[in-house]
């Protein structure tokens, strides 16, 4: 309704302006012509006196083809001397110079605009123009404008009604979708008409947001399922150990051993919890404010030194290819932990005699950290799932671990605006952690 009112007001303003500019222009032109005429006549009077003025008036009347010029010269007692008006029009007084009066001309009444001035010797002169045509034109313009305003107002009303309908339909769809989603139906989406207009843009933006919410909800559901399943197992084991020990343990030593094993189980559960919370913390992105330039070369050298000894101990070999001066923008501790997780995996899955490679390089503004091993790798079909929480590959089921390592690496990569790619090292796995490079 506000828009309709606004539209009406602006249409009226436009009409008023048109009237003023067209009718006003005509008025001003008439006045200018009268002024020029009067000036000419008073010049004549000054030069040639009354006879000259009478001649000029006659010439002008004869030369006036449109017959719209009006002259009247009268004596000091207002008796006409020369002119095309029958007599001095009554409304014309001495008090003002300009008049617009109806007069009888020939057989018709007409509207004239008159300029009156006094001549030396007591004579009075009226110079004017027949403005009947102009008055009619003005009326025509007024009429046209009034009609235009009426039509514009009607169009405005109809338009407002139509636009409101359009809005109402689109917004009703958005509102219906939103309330369906609040009610728990996360599959609903706002209808996209395919016109590519602003409403489609809005619908697509809302749908994108809903996609993200659905993904997050899936994540939460998946995590709670995983917690229900993956934490239940070790908790059940710890509980069984304790109950078994309470009823069957042989002497104090047996009891102590059972308690210690249950303790170890509980520590494992705590570790899983910590890893889950850490991933959630990373995904929440709160640490982004602590980002700084990180010397990746030094970071990788330190980690390599830490893990090299472990690899050697396990009969594996580790080669590094880390050029100096690599920097990334991020959180040092997180990147350390991510690379450590990749190295943990590489060491865990590589066979004795296997070769582990830690390399880094810059590829077009991206810093690539590569951890490659000679283990069983991850089948192509499972690579997408491998970064999900609690995923354990076929090959990994028999090894210790929580299935959270790669999920954490993935979270760190995403937080930094990078990515984690799992590729075939033929044989083995090649994990590529890409981070935005600095400098």
């Amino acid at each position: 309704m506000i828009y309709a009112a606004l539209f009406g007001v602006s249409a009226l303003a436009l009409a008023a302006f048109l009237v003023w500019s067209t009718a006003g222009l005509l008025d001003r032109e008439t006045d200018a012509a009268i002024n020029a005429d009067s000036n000419g006549l008073s010049e004549r009077y000054k030069l040639f006196g009354l006879p000259g003025l009478v001649d000029t008036i006659e010439q002008r009347l004869a030369g006036n083809v449109d017959a719209d010029a009006i002259y009247l010269l009268v004596t000091p007692d207002f008796r006409p001397i020369r002119g095309n008006l029958l007599g001095w029009p009554r409304p014309v007084t001495m008090e003002s110079d300009w008049f617009e009066v109806p007069v009888e001309r020939g057989k018709r009444r007409t509207l004239v605009r008159l300029h009156h001035f006094d001549l030396t010797g007591g004579f009075h002169l009226l110079v004017g123009r027949d403005v009947q045509v102009r008055a009619e034109l003005r009326r025509v313009i007024y009429d046209a404008m009034v009609w235009a305003a009426v039509i514009a107002a009607m169009l405005g009303l109809v338009g407002a009604w139509a636009v409101r309908g359009l809005f109402r339909r689109t917004l009703a769809d958005v509102a219906a979708t939103a309330s369906a989603i609040s009610a728990g139906d996360l599959t609903r989406r706002v209808r996209v008409t395919g016109d590519g207009d602003e409403f489609d843009l809005l619908a697509e933006t809302i749908n994108d947001m809903l996609e993200r919410i659905a993904r997050l909800m899936d994540g939460v559901r998946q995590v709670s399922n995983a917690i229900a399943h993956d934490l239940r197992t070790p908790i059940a084991r710890a509980r069984i150990r304790l109950e078994d020990a309470a009823s069957h343990a042989q002497g104090e030593a047996g009891l102590r051993a059972a308690i210690e094993r249950a303790q170890a189980d509980l520590d494992g559960i705590v570790a899983i919890f910590q890893a889950l919370l850490r991933i959630a913390e990373i995904e929440a992105g709160a640490r982004r404010s602590a980002f700084a330039a990180v010397d990746i070369s030094a970071l990788l050298h330190d980690l390599a030194e830490l893990y090299e000894a472990v690899a050697e101990d396990a009969g594996q070999s580790m080669v590094t290819d880390i050029p100096p001066g690599l920097f990334a923008y991020g959180d040092r501790e997180m990147i350390q932990q991510a690379v450590a997780n990749l190295l943990d995996n590489a060491l865990k899955f590589s066979p004795t005699g296997g070769n582990i490679r830690l390399a880094a390089s810059t590829v077009t503004n991206r810093l690539e950290i590569i951890v490659a091993d000679a283990g069983p790798g991850i089948p192509t079909a499972e690579r997408g799932q491998a970064v999900e929480r609690f995923f354990r590959g076929e090959q990994a089921r028999s090894t210790p671990g929580s299935g959270l390592g790669l999920a954490l690496v993935q979270a760190v990569a995403v937080l930094h605006g990078g990515s984690l790619a799992l590729e075939d090292n033929a044989p083995g796995l090649r994990a590529v952690l890409r981070l935005p490079a600095v400098g």
Binding site: D267, E281, E333, A340, D344
Partner: protein, 227 residues
């Protein structure tokens, strides 16, 4: 040593107090922030174990900030369920010397509290550390045992330095990871064990008596001889 425990959870407090007493320390306990602050400010302690969330209007952070503003530099170890990185950073910024999250292993807590309490009695910058016949020159970065020169890698040197500075105390794997490598996460692999065993090869293997001992369920200890 005199240790103050400020902890409102009765089970945790009893467990910690009992454990610290068994380890031979004199322990005072407060179950709220206000009393804790009063005790910490009016008595001398070698270390304070402090919970973050406390009843009584004064939480752990406030307690510590008040204490530090009175120029009281008693070492403080936070023991809190608030485990996020930001929480730890906030705790350390407020003047905490160490930060442990619940649940915790008592051995870890004991090792860290003792390390803190003893650090408080530091006798200024040292140039030389000696444990039994093992000598470490911190200036020339040379290590000798029984007069015999031992070559160490830079990281091995820092590992040994950490162990020697904490001689006679239990040092946990996490403490080593934080103190020697500056890592604040737990690797899945037994990285620390591997590095300690390498150090043993150089420090202990060629000699009659071992100095680096494994403490079961806790970590390592470097000490002159078996107690």
């Amino acid at each position: 040593m005199r240790i103050l425990v400020v902890e409102d959870d009765k089970d945790v407090a009893n467990f910690v107090v009992k454990g610290l007493k068994e380890a031979g320390h004199v322990v005072e306990h407060s179950n709220n922030g206000r009393d804790g602050l009063f005790m910490a400010a009016s008595e001398a302690f070698d270390a304070i174990v402090l919970d973050r969330m406390l009843p009584g209007g004064v939480d752990g952070l406030r307690l510590l900030e008040t204490l530090r503003s009175q120029n009281n530099n008693t070492p403080v170890l936070f023991l809190s369920a608030m485990a996020q990185v930001d929480d730890r950073v906030r705790g350390l910024k407020a003047g905490g010397d160490d930060y442990m999250t619940k649940p915790f292993a008592f051995a870890e807590l004991l090792a860290r509290v003792e390390a803190l309490a003893r650090r408080g009695k530091g006798d200024g910058p040292q140039t030389k550390v000696v444990v039994a016949d093992l000598e470490m020159d911190l200036l020339s970065r040379g290590v000798r045992r029984a007069g015999q020169k031992i070559d160490l890698q830079p990281r091995e040197f820092r590992l040994l330095e950490f162990l020697m500075r904490h001689a006679g105390q239990v040092v946990t794997r996490t403490m080593l990871l934080e103190g020697v490598w500056d890592y604040h996460f737990d690797p899945q692999t037994n990285v620390i064990d591997v590095h300690v065993s390498r150090l043993r090869q150089k420090i202990d293997k060629p000699f009659a008596t071992p100095l680096i001992h494994t403490v079961r369920n806790a970590g390592y200890m470097l000490r002159p001889e078996a107690p």
